[in-house]
């Protein structure tokens, strides 16, 4: 049996699992299906309840992973096949083409400047974030190399043949990108790292154990929920987080998507969608503290901004969380126990009126705000289902990976040698993810 372990997912859980195992002396394959390690935490502005800058504390860990001799990072890579073999597992991975030679690319960005096609960023599109078709996922990305998005707006690049000549629109005829400008720019720099003909690559590895650390997803509000997707200034709590982030598309300016003006009245609706069709039916644990954090930071940006949190049950469960909530109130954040009913937009000002029942008084009230943030909760990753099939393990009824026996054997799955940690087990915060990741690393390296 090979002595390596495989960790699927390289967010904060996967990173900590990998660092612990590697420091213990075990070789680790750290696989992520996105182009960089870092996961959700790399995109956050701050972490509650201390308001530590998220990337400031995560990036050193990312570099540590990158430099650790016991860790092989495989980004843009998916797990395709897993078979029990030799007391462990034989695993087929597929490294998706990123159309870049990872060895040669230095992340210098010359190609990025040359690329003529700008598209809305997946994460930041709603709040004005854009990227080029060739891009780096975020400034602290590891590995620090480019990735080409095959979804050109003129069509989809094929797996082979890529852009030049392979696109649905023949690129030699394409006025946007007539001569594969990125290739030329890279060559001009003395490199030749852009590989428009790169194909997916199979990689076979043998490991003794597998840790699932695929994380969690923020729930997308159903269209129309409190005006989401209908009104410009209704955003989700993850979009708002990007809005606050100095490394985000607005450089940390809390401005309205509709007119890019600073907002002076901002409200959060907690448990948005609970009990409604398409909403999250359970408590996601972290959203109360996320809203508390966001409202405090908003006040730090500008104390004059009026901030209100409409909530029902406050979840301030962890160490220092209650004091954090009290800090928010001291700083002037208003917490209103409320049941919001609906939201109307003023077509001229694009301001939003929230109609809600104040639970303390039982009265129906109206508030006008300039940005409305929906705390929609956390849900299982949609890709869990496919991975569970490949690993031959089960998901629970909410779509998270099922533990065999949560009390006496936490983090173990039905298959011996496959463990789970972090957001893959359910809603969880960063420190709990790190705890589980550390515990799972112990299971993964221990004799069976």
């Amino acid at each position: 049996m090979d002595n390596s372990i495989l960790i699927i997912g390289a967010g904060v859980a996967g990173i900590n699992c990998a660092l612990n195992a590697a420091k213990y002396g075990t070789h680790v394959y750290l696989v992520d299906d996105t182009p960089s390690i870092g996961g959700m935490m790399a995109r956050l502005d701050k972490t509650f309840p201390t308001n530590d800058c998220s990337i400031c504390i995560e990036a050193p860990q990312m570099y540590e992973v990158d430099n650790h001799p016991n860790i092989d990072i495989l980004t843009n890579t998916e797990v395709r096949k897993v078979k029990k073999a030799d007391g462990g597992f034989s695993v087929r991975l597929i490294k998706k083409a990123r159309f870049i030679d990872e060895e040669k690319c230095t992340g210098c960005g010359a190609c990025l400047e040359a690329c003529p096609v700008t598209v809305p960023d997946e994460l930041d599109g709603k709040i004005g974030g854009v990227r080029k078709l060739i891009s780096i996922p975020f400034p602290q990305a590891v590995p620090n190399v480019m990735v080409i998005d095959p979804d050109c707006r003129y069509g989809r690049m094929r797996d082979k043949g890529a852009c030049v000549g392979g696109c649905v629109v023949d690129c030699s005829q394409c006025r946007e990108c007539p001569i594969a400008l990125c290739v030329a720019a890279c060559r001009k720099e003395g490199k030749d790292a852009v590989r428009l003909w790169q194909a997916n690559k199979n990689i076979n590895i043998a490991v003794r154990s597998i840790v699932i650390a695929t994380g969690i997803a923020d729930a997308k509000p159903p269209r129309g929920l409190y005006g989401y997707d209908l009104y410009d200034n209704v955003v989700t709590y993850t979009q708002f987080e990007r809005l606050m982030n100095a490394g985000g598309p607005t450089g940390g300016q809390i401005i309205r998507p509709s007119d890019r003006k600073h907002a002076h009245r901002i409200a959060w609706i907690q448990c948005a969608g609970r009990g409604l069709e398409g909403g999250v039916p359970y408590c996601s644990k972290v959203c109360c503290m996320v809203a508390t954090k966001q409202s405090i930071i908003t006040k730090e940006h500008d104390p004059q901004v009026d901030t209100t949190v409409y909530y029902n049950d406050l979840k301030a469960y962890g160490k220092g969380f209650w004091a954090f909530y009290e800090k928010a109130r001291e700083n002037g954040v208003k917490y209103v126990r409320a049941r919001p009913y609906d939201v109307f937009e003023d077509p001229e000002t694009k301001n939003l009126t929230v109609r809600y029942e104040d639970l303390d008084s039982g009265e129906l009230r109206y508030d006008e705000v300039e940005i409305l943030v929906l705390s929609t909760g956390l849900v299982a990753n949609s890709r869990n289902e496919r991975l569970a099939k490949i690993l031959k393990i089960q998901l629970d009824k909410l779509g998270f990976f099922k533990e065999k026996d949560p009390i006496s054997a936490p983090l173990e799955t039905e298959v011996e040698g496959i463990y789970v940690c972090g957001g893959a087990t359910g809603p969880i915060d960063i420190s709990e993810s790190v705890v589980q990741a550390t515990a799972a690393s112990l299971k993964a390296v221990s004799p069976r």
Binding site: K23, A246, A316, P427, S431, P447
Partner: protein, 689 residues
Amino acid sequence: MTEEIRIGVFVCDCGSNIAGVVNVPEVVNYAKGLKNVVFVDEGKWSCSVDALSSMQESIKEHKLNRVVIASCTARTHEPLFKQTVKEAGLNPYLLEFVSIREQVSWVHMNEPEIATQKAKDLVKMGVAKAALLEEGEEIRLPVGKDCMVIGGGMAGMTAALSLANQGFKAVLVEKRPQLGGLLNLISTVSSDKELLSAEEIVRGQAKLVETHPNVVVYTNAEIENVDGYIGNYSVTIKSNGTRNNFDVSTVIVATGMRELNLEGKFFYGSDSRVVTQLELEGILKNNQLGDVKNVVMVNCVGSKNETRGCCNIGCHVSIKNALAIKRVNKEAKVYILYRDLSMVKEEHFHIDAAKAAGVKFLRFPDDRYPEVTKDNENLVINVYDILSGRAFLLSADLLVLTAGFEGDETIEKIKGHLKVSSNAEGFFQERHIKLGPLDFPADGIALCGCAKNPKTLKETIEEGMGAAMRVSIPMNNGYIEAEGIVADIDLANCNSCGLCWKRCPYGAIRVNENKEPQVVKALCKGCGLCAADCPKECISIVHYSDDQVLAQVEAALEENPADKIIAFVCHWCALGGVDMAGVSRLQYPPNARLIRVMCSARVSIKFIQRAFDLGAAGVLVAGCEFPTCHYISGNYAAEKRVNRAKKILAKKGFDPDKLWNIWCSAADGPKFANTMREMVRELHLAKEV
């Protein structure tokens, strides 16, 4: 005889990223003229495989004994170049990294001449420092394969078993006569399937622990003394009346928690019908519920107020116990009076189960707790329910208070033994709330379970395993290793003032019997706080010695000092902000010459003073944004020191307003760029330097 200094300088074009702005051949020529420089090379891509091997050849061919790399940023590329020079046979601490991309070409794109001048200055500063560099080495401290686990509850038992299963020896110390901790007092634990007997869980685990050949259990035990640090703790305990001494390499703290004392609240202590949830557990466990007809539970007693946070488990426990009562006595009326129902994921659906079983929920306002009175010896609870908007009068023959928790009473003693800290609520304080949840600042001591904060059984078991992993790493390797950047104390001038060992965040400085401080180098993280604080200047930091940093200051200010700002920048966040400004191509004035330190706490007043003595226009100290600090609290120390420096400067006739500081996150490129603009404006600096 001192060896001849032979410095090689490698300047990278980074394609056109540097060479497109900076006139690299000019920088190369300039470097050739610098003292001690014997070889200079320009590389198209210094980080490419070919360039690296040619660098190694040059090191050998020209017998280089110091190397300066002028290229991108140390934050991402220093490990690569360190490895490269190491493979060429050079000690990696003889490498100095100069950033002329993030700090020059990317941020002064439209001013090639000024950028070239700045690049030259930075190379000169790097060369000046390189001449003084000394060899460093990774330091190893042997660590044995035994661990003391303090506390024999579920966290401690799990930790001990996890260690024992890996072949390590675990010494489990429990103050009570039997293992099990809080779980001994509990009737049932809820799982996703059904209620489990706590007794079965605890006895099963205790048996595994007690019969494991690698675990030694001491019960009725009290710790009398703990001395030492990772690798060599010596412990004295008293167990069942006998004193025992033993040595261990690592320690896990799992001392658990206890319910708050509610004496006097709601007739608790004077009326036997008023009990806590933990006492109710005992009643349920021993089938002593009897014929209760009306049970009222009040949640959040003693918690969620000015002094104490949410107890994390009370909602869950009250619902579990309400259901348990309903199971024993279907006719009993059970009310749960609550503020917020804080239940996650599947747990959330327990609320529905309880409602279906007939448990009634009433929600009282945060500032209006229920009132309990006695009417002819009957307990009467007056509660205002927010949701229905009216008050209810409930009578109870059992009133259950969901009490908050605090750390175990042994916490104060253990804090003294291990030199660790706790918070105001009586729980131990972990190294970092997000990324160091199982560690204390000092290596080799881990923390788990309810000693940290209240948690569920599942979370407790996970923490027990996690803490075991944290101490297993050095035990499995047989050593801990520190980077070569460490403190070194020269005792010649030391007057045993004690500042260094008192302030070291890692307990890496210890005093011997002669009151002399000594650095346990393997524990030192190299922040340099001690060196900057030492009034006698006895402490030197490898790679960041006073001489080396001052050489950079002096080199930077050799020409046109009145236009220049000396910026001391911490490696972790502030330099991250600088790099972010570079990556974002934020253009800012070129007046600053950056000097990297590992932590802003390294910047001693002497450095600042020297810069002003030499005529610097301004000095900036940039560290991590509060509360983040890679070295726990270095930025707080730096802030205090900057304030002190201002007073000193004022006394000496300098303008203290020329000393600036910023606390900048690694994401905040705009903040650094703006600070540069502001400084240039406020200090009225000419742009061309």
